[in-house]
Protein backbone atom coordinates (compact mmCIF):
# COMPACT_ATOMS: atom_id res chain seq x y z
CA UNK A 1 0.00 0.00 0.00
CA UNK A 2 1.36 3.42 -0.86
CA UNK A 3 2.04 5.83 1.96
CA UNK A 4 0.13 8.56 0.25
CA UNK A 5 -3.09 6.63 0.49
CA UNK A 6 -4.22 8.04 3.79
CA UNK A 7 -2.09 11.18 3.64
CA UNK A 8 -3.93 12.35 0.59
CA UNK A 9 -7.07 11.83 2.51
CA UNK A 10 -6.92 13.31 6.02
CA UNK A 11 -3.77 12.77 8.03
CA UNK A 12 0.01 13.06 7.70
CA UNK A 13 2.25 10.00 7.36
CA UNK A 14 3.41 10.45 10.96
CA UNK A 15 -0.17 10.44 12.24
CA UNK A 16 -0.87 7.37 10.16
CA UNK A 17 2.22 5.63 11.52
CA UNK A 18 1.31 6.31 15.16
CA UNK A 19 -2.29 5.32 14.49
CA UNK A 20 -1.35 2.06 12.81
CA UNK A 21 1.54 1.27 15.20
CA UNK A 22 0.76 3.03 18.46
CA UNK A 23 3.67 3.14 20.93
CA UNK A 24 3.62 2.50 24.68
CA UNK A 25 0.08 1.17 25.04
CA UNK A 26 -0.68 0.14 28.60
CA UNK A 27 -1.22 -3.61 28.38
CA UNK A 28 -0.33 -4.93 31.83
CA UNK A 29 -3.44 -4.83 34.04
CA UNK A 30 -1.18 -4.90 37.11
CA UNK A 31 1.03 -2.06 35.96
CA UNK A 32 2.58 -0.34 38.96
CA UNK A 33 2.56 3.28 37.95
CA UNK A 34 3.74 6.18 40.09
CA UNK A 35 0.99 8.46 38.81
CA UNK A 36 -2.15 8.05 36.74
CA UNK A 37 -4.52 10.51 35.07
CA UNK A 38 -7.73 10.24 33.05
CA UNK A 39 -9.32 13.01 31.00
CA UNK A 40 -12.21 13.20 28.55
CA UNK A 41 -15.29 11.02 28.43
CA UNK A 42 -16.77 8.30 26.28
CA UNK A 43 -19.78 10.56 25.70
CA UNK A 44 -17.54 13.17 24.09
CA UNK A 45 -15.95 10.54 21.91
CA UNK A 46 -12.46 10.82 23.37
CA UNK A 47 -11.03 9.53 26.63
CA UNK A 48 -7.41 9.12 27.63
CA UNK A 49 -5.64 7.38 30.48
CA UNK A 50 -1.96 8.02 31.14
CA UNK A 51 0.16 6.04 33.61
CA UNK A 52 3.75 7.15 34.32
CA UNK A 53 6.78 5.84 36.15
CA UNK A 54 9.10 8.43 37.61
CA UNK A 55 12.66 8.36 38.85
CA UNK A 56 14.34 11.47 40.30
CA UNK A 57 11.47 13.59 38.99
CA UNK A 58 12.10 12.36 35.46
CA UNK A 59 9.54 10.34 33.50
CA UNK A 60 11.10 6.98 32.69
CA UNK A 61 7.96 5.31 31.34
CA UNK A 62 4.74 6.68 29.90
CA UNK A 63 1.96 4.19 29.16
CA UNK A 64 -1.52 5.03 27.93
CA UNK A 65 -4.93 3.92 26.81
CA UNK A 66 -7.20 5.87 24.51
CA UNK A 67 -10.76 5.65 23.36
CA UNK A 68 -11.02 7.91 20.38
CA UNK A 69 -10.44 8.69 16.75
CA UNK A 70 -7.23 8.27 14.75
CA UNK A 71 -5.79 11.62 15.79
CA UNK A 72 -6.62 10.92 19.45
CA UNK A 73 -4.71 7.63 19.27
CA UNK A 74 -1.82 9.08 17.28
CA UNK A 75 -1.44 12.17 19.45
CA UNK A 76 -1.42 10.15 22.67
CA UNK A 77 1.13 7.78 21.17
CA UNK A 78 3.32 10.71 20.13
CA UNK A 79 2.91 12.35 23.53
CA UNK A 80 4.08 9.16 25.23
CA UNK A 81 7.30 9.17 23.19
CA UNK A 82 7.92 12.84 23.90
CA UNK A 83 7.27 12.52 27.64
CA UNK A 84 9.87 9.86 28.34
CA UNK A 85 13.08 11.54 29.49
CA UNK A 86 11.37 14.77 30.41
CA UNK A 87 11.47 16.12 33.96
CA UNK A 88 8.02 16.49 35.45
CA UNK A 89 8.40 20.26 35.17
CA UNK A 90 9.09 19.97 31.44
CA UNK A 91 6.31 17.46 30.96
CA UNK A 92 3.83 19.68 32.77
CA UNK A 93 4.45 22.40 30.21
CA UNK A 94 3.88 20.20 27.19
CA UNK A 95 1.22 21.79 24.95
CA UNK A 96 -1.15 20.35 22.35
CA UNK A 97 0.71 22.46 19.79
CA UNK A 98 4.01 20.69 20.56
CA UNK A 99 2.38 17.30 20.02
CA UNK A 100 0.62 18.45 16.86
CA UNK A 101 3.84 19.90 15.44
CA UNK A 102 5.63 16.58 16.00
CA UNK A 103 2.80 14.84 14.15
CA UNK A 104 3.30 17.14 11.19
CA UNK A 105 -0.03 18.84 11.79
CA UNK A 106 -3.65 17.82 12.26
CA UNK A 107 -6.84 18.97 10.54
CA UNK A 108 -8.09 22.13 12.26
CA UNK A 109 -11.25 20.58 13.68
CA UNK A 110 -9.24 17.78 15.29
CA UNK A 111 -6.95 20.00 17.29
CA UNK A 112 -9.12 20.77 20.32
CA UNK A 113 -11.19 17.64 20.58
CA UNK A 114 -8.59 14.98 20.08
CA UNK A 115 -5.30 16.24 21.53
CA UNK A 116 -5.89 15.46 25.17
CA UNK A 117 -2.67 13.57 25.85
CA UNK A 118 -0.93 16.55 27.44
CA UNK A 119 -3.85 17.03 29.82
CA UNK A 120 -3.86 13.38 30.80
CA UNK A 121 -0.12 13.60 31.37
CA UNK A 122 -0.58 16.61 33.66
CA UNK A 123 -3.29 14.75 35.54
CA UNK A 124 -0.86 11.86 35.99
CA UNK A 125 1.83 14.19 37.32
CA UNK A 126 -0.71 15.79 39.69
CA UNK A 127 -1.56 12.30 40.89
CA UNK A 128 2.14 11.44 41.35
CA UNK A 129 2.77 14.52 43.46
CA UNK A 130 -0.33 13.84 45.50
CA UNK A 131 0.70 10.24 46.12
CA UNK A 132 4.08 11.56 47.22
CA UNK A 133 2.28 14.07 49.46
CA UNK A 134 4.30 16.80 47.85
CA UNK A 135 3.25 20.33 47.01
CA UNK A 136 2.24 20.84 43.41
CA UNK A 137 4.18 23.85 42.20
CA UNK A 138 2.92 23.56 38.61
CA UNK A 139 -0.84 23.65 38.96
CA UNK A 140 -1.26 27.38 39.51
CA UNK A 141 0.46 28.40 36.29
CA UNK A 142 -1.60 26.21 34.00
CA UNK A 143 -5.05 26.85 32.61
CA UNK A 144 -7.65 24.28 33.56
CA UNK A 145 -9.94 22.75 30.98
CA UNK A 146 -13.58 23.34 31.88
CA UNK A 147 -15.27 22.08 28.74
CA UNK A 148 -13.40 19.08 27.39
CA UNK A 149 -15.51 18.77 24.28
CA UNK A 150 -14.70 22.27 23.04
CA UNK A 151 -11.41 22.72 24.86
CA UNK A 152 -12.50 25.79 26.80
CA UNK A 153 -10.29 26.72 29.76
CA UNK A 154 -10.98 28.65 32.94
CA UNK A 155 -8.48 31.28 31.82
CA UNK A 156 -10.36 31.76 28.55
CA UNK A 157 -13.63 32.28 30.40
CA UNK A 158 -11.92 34.68 32.76
CA UNK A 159 -10.55 36.76 29.87
CA UNK A 160 -13.94 36.91 28.13
CA UNK A 161 -15.63 38.12 31.32
CA UNK A 162 -12.80 40.50 32.11
CA UNK A 163 -13.07 42.08 28.65
CA UNK A 164 -16.82 42.43 28.98
CA UNK A 165 -17.44 40.14 25.98
CA UNK A 166 -19.45 37.63 27.99
CA UNK A 167 -22.07 38.45 30.59
CA UNK A 168 -24.38 35.44 30.48
CA UNK A 169 -24.12 31.68 30.09
CA UNK A 170 -25.82 31.99 26.68
CA UNK A 171 -23.17 34.42 25.50
CA UNK A 172 -20.43 32.18 26.82
CA UNK A 173 -21.88 29.20 24.94
CA UNK A 174 -22.26 31.26 21.79
CA UNK A 175 -18.67 32.55 22.00
CA UNK A 176 -16.95 29.29 22.91
CA UNK A 177 -19.37 26.45 22.28
CA UNK A 178 -18.88 25.43 25.90
CA UNK A 179 -21.37 22.86 27.14
CA UNK A 180 -22.97 22.40 23.75
CA UNK A 181 -21.82 18.83 23.17
CA UNK A 182 -22.10 16.49 26.16
CA UNK A 183 -23.19 19.25 28.53
CA UNK A 184 -21.57 17.76 31.60
CA UNK A 185 -19.46 20.88 32.28
CA UNK A 186 -22.44 23.22 32.31
CA UNK A 187 -23.01 23.45 36.06
CA UNK A 188 -19.29 23.83 36.67
CA UNK A 189 -19.18 26.58 34.05
CA UNK A 190 -22.17 28.40 35.53
CA UNK A 191 -20.44 28.46 38.92
CA UNK A 192 -17.21 29.66 37.40
CA UNK A 193 -18.98 32.29 35.32
CA UNK A 194 -20.76 33.58 38.44
CA UNK A 195 -17.42 33.73 40.18
CA UNK A 196 -15.80 35.73 37.41
CA UNK A 197 -18.84 37.99 36.99
CA UNK A 198 -18.65 38.66 40.70
CA UNK A 199 -15.01 39.64 40.43
CA UNK A 200 -15.09 41.61 37.19
CA UNK A 201 -18.53 42.67 36.12
CA UNK A 202 -20.72 43.44 39.07
Amino acid sequence: MSDSFIHDWVYTDTVKDHFMNPRNILQDPDYKEDGKGIVGSMACGDQMLVAIKIESDTIIECKWKTYGCASAIASTSMMSEMAVGMTIAEAYNMTPQMITDKLGGLPQHKFHCSVLGDKALRAAIDDYLERQKRDNPFKAGIAKIICECKGVTDQQIEELVKDGVVKTMEQLQEKTGLGTVCGKCKSKAVDLLDEFLHIYAR
Binding site: F19, M42, Y67, A72, I73, H109
Partner: protein, 386 residues
Protein backbone atom coordinates in the same frame (compact mmCIF):
# COMPACT_ATOMS: atom_id res chain seq x y z
CA UNK B 1 -3.67 1.07 -2.29
CA UNK B 2 -4.77 -2.05 -0.42
CA UNK B 3 -5.01 -5.18 -2.54
CA UNK B 4 -8.73 -5.53 -1.99
CA UNK B 5 -11.40 -2.96 -2.59
CA UNK B 6 -14.67 -3.78 -0.89
CA UNK B 7 -17.27 -1.09 -1.13
CA UNK B 8 -19.94 -1.27 1.57
CA UNK B 9 -21.03 2.35 1.60
CA UNK B 10 -23.89 2.15 -0.88
CA UNK B 11 -26.14 4.46 1.12
CA UNK B 12 -23.56 7.20 0.58
CA UNK B 13 -23.36 6.53 -3.11
CA UNK B 14 -23.23 3.58 -5.49
CA UNK B 15 -20.89 2.68 -8.27
CA UNK B 16 -22.41 3.12 -11.68
CA UNK B 17 -23.90 0.03 -13.30
CA UNK B 18 -21.88 -0.78 -16.47
CA UNK B 19 -25.09 -0.94 -18.50
CA UNK B 20 -26.06 2.49 -17.19
CA UNK B 21 -22.62 3.83 -17.94
CA UNK B 22 -22.91 2.73 -21.53
CA UNK B 23 -26.29 4.43 -21.84
CA UNK B 24 -24.87 7.64 -20.35
CA UNK B 25 -21.93 7.60 -22.74
CA UNK B 26 -24.35 7.23 -25.65
CA UNK B 27 -26.15 10.23 -24.21
CA UNK B 28 -23.10 12.33 -24.93
CA UNK B 29 -23.67 11.56 -28.59
CA UNK B 30 -26.98 13.42 -28.33
CA UNK B 31 -25.58 16.93 -28.19
CA UNK B 32 -28.80 18.76 -29.05
CA UNK B 33 -30.64 20.89 -26.52
CA UNK B 34 -33.69 18.82 -25.70
CA UNK B 35 -35.77 22.01 -25.86
CA UNK B 36 -34.79 22.76 -29.49
CA UNK B 37 -37.16 22.10 -32.34
CA UNK B 38 -34.55 20.86 -34.81
CA UNK B 39 -33.49 17.27 -35.38
CA UNK B 40 -30.67 17.05 -32.77
CA UNK B 41 -33.00 18.70 -30.26
CA UNK B 42 -35.79 16.25 -30.97
CA UNK B 43 -33.41 13.30 -30.66
CA UNK B 44 -32.29 14.47 -27.22
CA UNK B 45 -35.88 15.16 -26.23
CA UNK B 46 -36.96 11.66 -27.21
CA UNK B 47 -34.25 10.18 -25.00
CA UNK B 48 -35.27 12.41 -22.08
CA UNK B 49 -38.92 11.43 -22.43
CA UNK B 50 -38.03 7.76 -22.59
CA UNK B 51 -36.08 8.15 -19.36
CA UNK B 52 -39.07 9.90 -17.82
CA UNK B 53 -41.22 6.85 -18.53
CA UNK B 54 -38.58 4.53 -17.04
CA UNK B 55 -38.18 6.69 -13.94
CA UNK B 56 -41.93 7.04 -13.42
CA UNK B 57 -42.44 3.30 -13.59
CA UNK B 58 -39.95 2.64 -10.79
CA UNK B 59 -42.10 4.55 -8.32
CA UNK B 60 -45.56 3.95 -9.77
CA UNK B 61 -45.99 7.47 -11.14
CA UNK B 62 -47.20 8.70 -14.51
CA UNK B 63 -44.42 10.11 -16.72
CA UNK B 64 -45.89 13.63 -16.67
CA UNK B 65 -45.65 13.54 -12.87
CA UNK B 66 -41.84 13.34 -12.97
CA UNK B 67 -39.54 16.33 -13.16
CA UNK B 68 -35.79 15.85 -13.35
CA UNK B 69 -33.66 17.64 -10.80
CA UNK B 70 -30.01 17.65 -9.81
CA UNK B 71 -30.70 15.09 -7.08
CA UNK B 72 -32.37 14.34 -3.79
CA UNK B 73 -31.35 17.52 -2.01
CA UNK B 74 -32.76 19.74 -4.73
CA UNK B 75 -35.97 17.73 -4.84
CA UNK B 76 -36.37 18.01 -1.08
CA UNK B 77 -35.64 21.74 -1.08
CA UNK B 78 -38.07 22.30 -3.94
CA UNK B 79 -40.93 20.81 -1.96
CA UNK B 80 -40.17 22.60 1.30
CA UNK B 81 -39.79 25.95 -0.45
CA UNK B 82 -43.45 25.72 -1.46
CA UNK B 83 -44.21 26.94 2.05
CA UNK B 84 -43.55 30.44 0.73
CA UNK B 85 -45.70 30.03 -2.36
CA UNK B 86 -49.15 31.49 -3.02
CA UNK B 87 -50.86 28.11 -2.77
CA UNK B 88 -50.32 28.24 0.99
CA UNK B 89 -50.26 31.94 1.74
CA UNK B 90 -53.74 32.08 0.19
CA UNK B 91 -55.30 29.26 2.19
CA UNK B 92 -53.74 30.19 5.52
CA UNK B 93 -51.69 27.02 5.91
CA UNK B 94 -48.18 27.79 7.04
CA UNK B 95 -46.90 24.90 9.14
CA UNK B 96 -44.44 22.16 8.17
CA UNK B 97 -44.36 18.83 9.96
CA UNK B 98 -41.39 16.55 9.58
CA UNK B 99 -39.50 13.93 11.59
CA UNK B 100 -36.42 14.22 13.75
CA UNK B 101 -34.36 11.84 11.59
CA UNK B 102 -34.86 13.31 8.13
CA UNK B 103 -31.90 13.87 5.81
CA UNK B 104 -30.07 17.18 6.38
CA UNK B 105 -31.55 18.57 3.15
CA UNK B 106 -34.91 18.49 4.98
CA UNK B 107 -33.64 18.98 8.49
CA UNK B 108 -31.35 21.95 7.89
CA UNK B 109 -33.86 23.59 5.56
CA UNK B 110 -36.71 23.57 8.08
CA UNK B 111 -34.30 24.90 10.70
CA UNK B 112 -33.69 27.97 8.52
CA UNK B 113 -37.42 28.31 7.85
CA UNK B 114 -38.13 28.14 11.56
CA UNK B 115 -35.61 30.91 12.22
CA UNK B 116 -37.47 32.92 9.58
CA UNK B 117 -40.73 32.49 11.46
CA UNK B 118 -42.26 29.46 9.75
CA UNK B 119 -43.98 27.20 12.30
CA UNK B 120 -42.25 23.83 12.22
CA UNK B 121 -43.20 20.70 14.14
CA UNK B 122 -40.69 17.89 14.49
CA UNK B 123 -42.10 14.44 15.24
CA UNK B 124 -39.86 12.06 17.17
CA UNK B 125 -39.09 8.41 16.56
CA UNK B 126 -38.91 5.34 18.78
CA UNK B 127 -35.82 3.28 19.57
CA UNK B 128 -36.13 1.48 16.22
CA UNK B 129 -36.35 4.74 14.33
CA UNK B 130 -40.08 4.41 13.67
CA UNK B 131 -42.11 7.60 13.49
CA UNK B 132 -44.37 8.41 16.44
CA UNK B 133 -47.57 8.13 14.40
CA UNK B 134 -49.78 9.15 17.31
CA UNK B 135 -47.84 12.37 17.71
CA UNK B 136 -48.25 13.04 13.99
CA UNK B 137 -51.98 12.46 14.33
CA UNK B 138 -52.16 14.90 17.25
CA UNK B 139 -50.23 17.57 15.39
CA UNK B 140 -52.15 17.30 12.14
CA UNK B 141 -54.43 20.31 12.03
CA UNK B 142 -55.88 22.82 9.59
CA UNK B 143 -52.80 25.03 9.60
CA UNK B 144 -50.45 22.32 8.30
CA UNK B 145 -49.22 22.93 4.76
CA UNK B 146 -46.73 20.11 4.22
CA UNK B 147 -45.94 16.85 5.99
CA UNK B 148 -42.56 15.44 4.98
CA UNK B 149 -41.58 11.97 6.16
CA UNK B 150 -38.76 9.97 4.63
CA UNK B 151 -39.59 6.53 3.21
CA UNK B 152 -36.44 4.97 4.67
CA UNK B 153 -33.60 6.37 6.73
CA UNK B 154 -30.11 6.68 5.28
CA UNK B 155 -28.19 5.83 8.45
CA UNK B 156 -30.19 3.03 10.08
CA UNK B 157 -32.35 1.95 7.14
CA UNK B 158 -35.61 1.98 9.09
CA UNK B 159 -38.63 2.06 6.77
CA UNK B 160 -41.50 4.38 7.77
CA UNK B 161 -45.20 3.78 7.36
CA UNK B 162 -45.64 6.46 4.72
CA UNK B 163 -49.09 5.11 3.81
CA UNK B 164 -50.34 5.87 7.31
CA UNK B 165 -48.67 9.28 7.42
CA UNK B 166 -50.25 10.17 4.06
CA UNK B 167 -53.69 9.25 5.43
CA UNK B 168 -53.09 11.68 8.25
CA UNK B 169 -52.07 14.34 5.73
CA UNK B 170 -55.30 13.79 3.83
CA UNK B 171 -57.32 14.01 7.04
CA UNK B 172 -56.01 17.49 7.76
CA UNK B 173 -55.78 18.66 4.18
CA UNK B 174 -51.99 18.96 4.11
CA UNK B 175 -49.78 17.96 1.21
CA UNK B 176 -47.65 14.85 1.77
CA UNK B 177 -44.02 14.54 0.73
CA UNK B 178 -41.76 11.56 1.14
CA UNK B 179 -38.01 11.61 0.70
CA UNK B 180 -37.63 8.28 -1.07
CA UNK B 181 -33.96 8.75 -1.94
CA UNK B 182 -32.80 5.70 0.04
CA UNK B 183 -35.85 3.59 -0.72
CA UNK B 184 -36.23 3.97 -4.47
CA UNK B 185 -34.83 0.97 -6.29
CA UNK B 186 -34.37 -0.98 -3.04
CA UNK B 187 -37.95 -1.62 -1.96
CA UNK B 188 -41.19 -1.58 -3.94
CA UNK B 189 -42.64 1.91 -4.16
CA UNK B 190 -45.94 3.09 -5.57
CA UNK B 191 -46.57 6.76 -5.02
CA UNK B 192 -50.19 6.47 -6.14
CA UNK B 193 -50.92 3.67 -3.69
CA UNK B 194 -49.08 5.52 -0.95
CA UNK B 195 -51.18 8.55 -1.85
CA UNK B 196 -48.33 11.02 -1.52
CA UNK B 197 -48.19 14.35 -3.35
CA UNK B 198 -44.42 14.52 -3.72
CA UNK B 199 -41.54 12.04 -3.67
CA UNK B 200 -37.83 12.73 -4.04
CA UNK B 201 -35.42 10.32 -5.66
CA UNK B 202 -31.72 10.41 -6.48
CA UNK B 203 -29.87 8.69 -9.29
CA UNK B 204 -26.55 7.91 -7.66
CA UNK B 205 -28.18 5.84 -4.90
CA UNK B 206 -29.35 3.35 -7.52
CA UNK B 207 -26.27 2.98 -9.72
CA UNK B 208 -26.94 6.02 -11.92
CA UNK B 209 -24.52 8.96 -12.12
CA UNK B 210 -24.26 11.66 -9.46
CA UNK B 211 -25.96 14.98 -10.05
CA UNK B 212 -29.25 13.64 -11.37
CA UNK B 213 -32.48 13.01 -9.53
CA UNK B 214 -36.19 13.44 -9.83
CA UNK B 215 -39.19 14.80 -8.06
CA UNK B 216 -42.60 13.23 -8.37
CA UNK B 217 -45.35 15.83 -8.28
CA UNK B 218 -48.90 14.54 -8.21
CA UNK B 219 -50.92 15.45 -11.28
CA UNK B 220 -53.08 18.52 -10.86
CA UNK B 221 -50.92 20.25 -8.27
CA UNK B 222 -50.09 23.71 -9.41
CA UNK B 223 -46.74 24.45 -7.82
CA UNK B 224 -44.18 27.20 -8.10
CA UNK B 225 -40.69 26.43 -9.37
CA UNK B 226 -37.57 26.53 -7.23
CA UNK B 227 -35.39 27.31 -10.23
CA UNK B 228 -36.87 29.91 -12.56
CA UNK B 229 -35.92 31.18 -15.95
CA UNK B 230 -36.90 28.52 -18.42
CA UNK B 231 -39.87 26.54 -19.66
CA UNK B 232 -38.27 23.12 -19.07
CA UNK B 233 -40.25 20.57 -17.05
CA UNK B 234 -43.49 22.50 -17.71
CA UNK B 235 -41.82 25.58 -16.28
CA UNK B 236 -41.31 23.85 -12.96
CA UNK B 237 -37.55 23.51 -13.14
CA UNK B 238 -35.58 25.79 -15.39
CA UNK B 239 -32.25 24.71 -16.82
CA UNK B 240 -31.12 22.91 -19.95
CA UNK B 241 -31.85 19.22 -19.76
CA UNK B 242 -28.93 17.14 -18.49
CA UNK B 243 -29.44 14.62 -21.25
CA UNK B 244 -26.73 12.04 -20.35
CA UNK B 245 -27.63 12.19 -16.66
CA UNK B 246 -31.33 11.84 -17.32
CA UNK B 247 -30.70 8.90 -19.65
CA UNK B 248 -28.58 7.35 -16.88
CA UNK B 249 -31.31 7.75 -14.29
CA UNK B 250 -33.83 6.24 -16.68
CA UNK B 251 -31.61 3.27 -17.46
CA UNK B 252 -30.84 2.68 -13.78
CA UNK B 253 -34.51 2.99 -12.86
CA UNK B 254 -35.44 0.40 -15.45
CA UNK B 255 -32.83 -2.05 -14.20
CA UNK B 256 -33.83 -1.46 -10.59
CA UNK B 257 -37.48 -1.98 -11.46
CA UNK B 258 -36.84 -5.21 -13.33
CA UNK B 259 -34.45 -6.63 -10.73
CA UNK B 260 -36.14 -5.30 -7.62
CA UNK B 261 -37.31 -8.52 -5.99
CA UNK B 262 -34.23 -10.46 -6.95
CA UNK B 263 -31.83 -7.73 -5.81
CA UNK B 264 -33.61 -7.11 -2.52
CA UNK B 265 -33.48 -10.82 -1.72
CA UNK B 266 -29.84 -11.14 -2.68
CA UNK B 267 -28.76 -8.04 -0.77
CA UNK B 268 -30.75 -8.76 2.38
CA UNK B 269 -29.29 -12.27 2.44
CA UNK B 270 -25.77 -10.77 2.39
CA UNK B 271 -26.74 -8.25 5.04
CA UNK B 272 -28.13 -11.02 7.30
CA UNK B 273 -24.95 -13.06 6.88
CA UNK B 274 -22.87 -10.05 7.80
CA UNK B 275 -25.07 -9.30 10.77
CA UNK B 276 -25.04 -12.86 12.09
CA UNK B 277 -21.32 -13.08 11.53
CA UNK B 278 -20.65 -9.90 13.46
CA UNK B 279 -22.94 -10.96 16.29
CA UNK B 280 -21.31 -14.35 16.62
CA UNK B 281 -17.68 -13.26 16.18
CA UNK B 282 -17.63 -10.03 18.18
CA UNK B 283 -18.84 -9.75 21.76
CA UNK B 284 -20.92 -6.79 22.94
CA UNK B 285 -22.33 -5.31 19.75
CA UNK B 286 -25.55 -3.36 19.27
CA UNK B 287 -27.48 -3.38 16.01
CA UNK B 288 -29.21 -0.04 15.47
CA UNK B 289 -32.45 0.52 13.60
CA UNK B 290 -35.53 -1.62 13.10
CA UNK B 291 -34.87 -5.39 13.16
CA UNK B 292 -37.38 -6.17 10.37
CA UNK B 293 -38.67 -3.04 8.68
CA UNK B 294 -35.33 -2.01 7.32
CA UNK B 295 -33.75 -1.50 3.91
CA UNK B 296 -32.30 -4.74 2.49
CA UNK B 297 -28.67 -3.59 2.52
CA UNK B 298 -28.39 -1.39 5.59
CA UNK B 299 -26.68 -2.65 8.75
CA UNK B 300 -25.82 -0.14 11.44
CA UNK B 301 -23.83 -1.56 14.33
CA UNK B 302 -22.34 0.01 17.45
CA UNK B 303 -19.15 -1.40 18.93
CA UNK B 304 -18.85 -0.07 22.50
CA UNK B 305 -15.25 0.72 23.40
CA UNK B 306 -14.14 1.21 19.81
CA UNK B 307 -14.53 4.62 18.22
CA UNK B 308 -16.12 4.88 14.79
CA UNK B 309 -13.51 6.88 12.92
CA UNK B 310 -10.76 4.56 14.12
CA UNK B 311 -12.73 1.51 13.02
CA UNK B 312 -13.43 3.16 9.66
CA UNK B 313 -9.76 3.99 9.07
CA UNK B 314 -8.46 0.58 10.13
CA UNK B 315 -10.99 -1.04 7.78
CA UNK B 316 -10.00 1.42 5.09
CA UNK B 317 -6.42 0.15 5.42
CA UNK B 318 -7.79 -3.31 4.61
CA UNK B 319 -9.59 -1.94 1.57
CA UNK B 320 -13.04 -1.96 3.17
CA UNK B 321 -15.15 1.18 2.76
CA UNK B 322 -17.86 1.88 5.35
CA UNK B 323 -19.17 4.94 7.13
CA UNK B 324 -19.64 5.97 10.75
CA UNK B 325 -22.02 8.02 12.85
CA UNK B 326 -19.12 9.09 15.01
CA UNK B 327 -18.64 12.83 15.35
CA UNK B 328 -14.92 12.58 14.67
CA UNK B 329 -15.35 11.55 11.08
CA UNK B 330 -17.78 14.30 10.19
CA UNK B 331 -15.84 17.34 11.29
CA UNK B 332 -18.39 18.18 13.96
CA UNK B 333 -18.24 17.26 17.61
CA UNK B 334 -21.71 15.78 17.78
CA UNK B 335 -22.30 12.18 16.86
CA UNK B 336 -25.09 11.11 14.50
CA UNK B 337 -28.35 12.89 15.33
CA UNK B 338 -30.23 9.97 13.85
CA UNK B 339 -28.78 7.56 16.41
CA UNK B 340 -29.18 10.09 19.22
CA UNK B 341 -32.86 10.59 18.26
CA UNK B 342 -33.45 6.84 18.46
CA UNK B 343 -32.18 6.95 22.02
CA UNK B 344 -28.78 5.41 21.35
CA UNK B 345 -26.44 7.06 23.86
CA UNK B 346 -23.50 9.16 22.67
CA UNK B 347 -21.05 6.40 23.66
CA UNK B 348 -22.75 3.95 21.31
CA UNK B 349 -23.24 6.57 18.61
CA UNK B 350 -19.52 7.37 18.60
CA UNK B 351 -18.79 3.70 18.05
CA UNK B 352 -21.26 3.12 15.24
CA UNK B 353 -20.47 1.78 11.81
CA UNK B 354 -22.86 1.69 8.88
CA UNK B 355 -22.40 -1.11 6.39
CA UNK B 356 -24.59 -0.48 3.37
CA UNK B 357 -24.54 -3.25 0.84
CA UNK B 358 -25.54 -3.21 -2.78
CA UNK B 359 -26.10 -5.58 -5.65
CA UNK B 360 -22.41 -5.63 -6.54
CA UNK B 361 -21.32 -7.00 -3.15
CA UNK B 362 -20.61 -10.72 -2.88
CA UNK B 363 -20.54 -13.48 -0.27
CA UNK B 364 -16.73 -13.52 -0.54
CA UNK B 365 -16.67 -9.85 0.37
CA UNK B 366 -18.86 -10.44 3.39
CA UNK B 367 -16.54 -13.25 4.44
CA UNK B 368 -13.52 -10.96 4.01
CA UNK B 369 -15.12 -8.27 6.19
CA UNK B 370 -15.93 -10.90 8.81
CA UNK B 371 -12.26 -11.91 8.77
CA UNK B 372 -10.87 -8.38 9.04
CA UNK B 373 -13.39 -6.69 11.35
CA UNK B 374 -13.09 -8.73 14.59
CA UNK B 375 -9.32 -8.11 15.03
CA UNK B 376 -9.85 -4.39 14.38
CA UNK B 377 -12.49 -4.15 17.10
CA UNK B 378 -10.41 -6.30 19.45
CA UNK B 379 -7.34 -4.16 18.91
CA UNK B 380 -9.18 -0.87 19.46
CA UNK B 381 -10.88 -2.21 22.56
CA UNK B 382 -7.54 -3.34 23.96
CA UNK B 383 -6.15 0.15 23.70
CA UNK B 384 -9.38 1.75 24.90
CA UNK B 385 -10.03 3.17 28.34
CA UNK B 386 -13.30 1.21 28.52
Amino acid sequence: MPEKSIYMDNNATTTIDPVVKEAVLKGFDLPGNASSMHGPGRAASAAVERARIQTARLIGADPEEIIFTSGGSESNNTVLNLIYSNMFTENGRNRIITSSIEHPSINETVKVFRNNGVPVTIIGVDSNGKLDMEALRREASKDVAIISIMTANNEIGTIQNVLEAAKIAVSCGALMHTDAVQAAGKIALDVHNLNVDFASISGHKLHAPKGIGALYIRKGLNIEPLIRGGHQEHGLRAGTYNTPGIIGLGAAAEIAYNELTESAGYISNLRDKLRMGIESLIPNVHVNGHPMEVLPGTLNVSFPGAEGESILLYLDMEGISVSTGSACATGSLEPSYVLIETGVGPELAHGSIRFSLGKFNTEEEVAYVLKKLPPVIKRLREMSTL
